[in-house]
């Protein structure tokens, strides 16, 4: 996704990436980044929590419109309101993805 932002930015359209892995977006050289410490699949926050979603989108728009230089990163100061152990399990698919199943079956037996 950061590389998609780069390609679209190179076509002349300013971009901001809202991501749970801002360090990776920096590594991938995204032009503008907003980091959120949320589980995967929840870039704008908790379902139904309009206040949280609005804080993230408003910051994203500020970073999009007001960043002065390539590589600007601003992180959102919101703690995920679900205990880590529960949230860690909750975002993952109930059935492992095909590539994960393939990787697991290719591991040598212990």
């Amino acid at each position: 996704m950061p590389v998609l932002a780069r390609w679209i930015e190179a076509a002349g359209i300013p971009t901001v990436v809202v991501t749970v892995m801002p360090a990776v977006a920096e590594d991938r050289r995204a032009p503008r980044i907003v980091g959120v410490e949320f589980p995967f699949g929840h870039a704008f926050g908790m379902p139904g929590d309009k206040t949280m979603q609005r804080r993230v989108l408003e910051l994203a728009l500020q970073v999009l419109a007001g960043s002065g230089a390539f590589g600007t990163r601003v992180d959102v100061d919101i703690e995920w309101p679900v205990p880590l152990r529960d949230a860690y399990k909750a975002w993952q698919p109930k059935v492992a993805s095909p590539i994960v199943r393939k990787l697991l079956t290719s591991l040598p037996p212990r």
């Binding site: 996704m1 950061p2 590389v3 998609l4 932002a5 780069r6 390609w7 679209i8 930015e9 190179a10 359209i13 300013p14 971009t15 901001v16 990436v17 991501t19 749970v20 892995m21 801002p22 360090a23 990776v24 991938r28 050289r29 032009p31 980091g35 410490e37 995967f40 699949g41 929840h42 870039a43 704008f44 926050g45 908790m46 379902p47 139904g48 309009k50 979603q53 609005r54 989108l57 408003e58 994203a60 728009l61 999009l64 419109a65 007001g66 230089a69 390539f70 992180d75 959102v76 880590l84 949230a87 909750a90 975002w91 993952q92 698919p93 993805s97 095909p98 590539i99 994960v100 393939k102």
Partner: protein, 168 residues
């Protein structure tokens, strides 16, 4: 507060992401200045959660991904800004999609963006937003060669002044 990028990632996955650096050929800065005031700008959204409109669009091709695990559907969907929540489908095998189905705004906040337009904080929103499925084969050739030119054409056609992208 600095976000921990790996807080919710299984420990065994971390080396797949951490410290990998830029893709080859993607090292240099790219920059398009945001020239307008936000209150006079048109904004588009792009999600990689694999959203699609169930009544009018095919799903992303998950059957092929099941049989070819290194492959991910590189196509894209146009999501009307006012699409009915109940009509939004999610096609992504790498996340639990229950929360996105319950509230697609956590991936594509089209209604919230429209609210900011109504409040005159943002000039306007594009009539259609964009959706891709984020799991892609490593070369990214499908995105680069087929999807990207169409996404850019769509954004230009809608006169988008800026794009907010959210990986799933």
């Amino acid at each position: 507060m600095i976000v921990d990028s790996y807080r919710f990632l299984p420990r065994s996955f971390r080396p797949l992401y951490e410290g990998r650096g830029p893709f080859p050929g993607e090292e240099a800065p790219v920059w398009a200045p945001f020239e307008k005031r936000l209150a006079g700008a048109r904004i588009a959204l792009l999600t990689s959660a694999g959203l699609y409109v169930r009544s009018t669009q095919p799903s992303f091709d998950l059957d092929r991904e099941q049989s070819h695990p290194e492959w991910g559907d590189p196509s894209w969907r146009s999501i009307p800004a006012g699409a009915d929540v109940a009509d939004i489908g999610v096609a992504h095998l790498h996340i639990n999609d229950e929360d996105i189905k319950a509230d697609p705004e956590i991936a594509l906040p089209a209604r919230l963006l429209q609210q900011l337009v109504d409040e005159r904080a943002v000039g306007s929103a594009t009539a259609e937003h964009l959706s891709v499925m984020g799991y892609q084969e490593r070369s990214l050739d499908g995105w680069r060669n087929e999807t990207l030119p169409e996404l850019i054409a769509k954004l230009r056609d809608q006169q988008a002044d800026g794009l907010v992208l959210a990986p799933a």
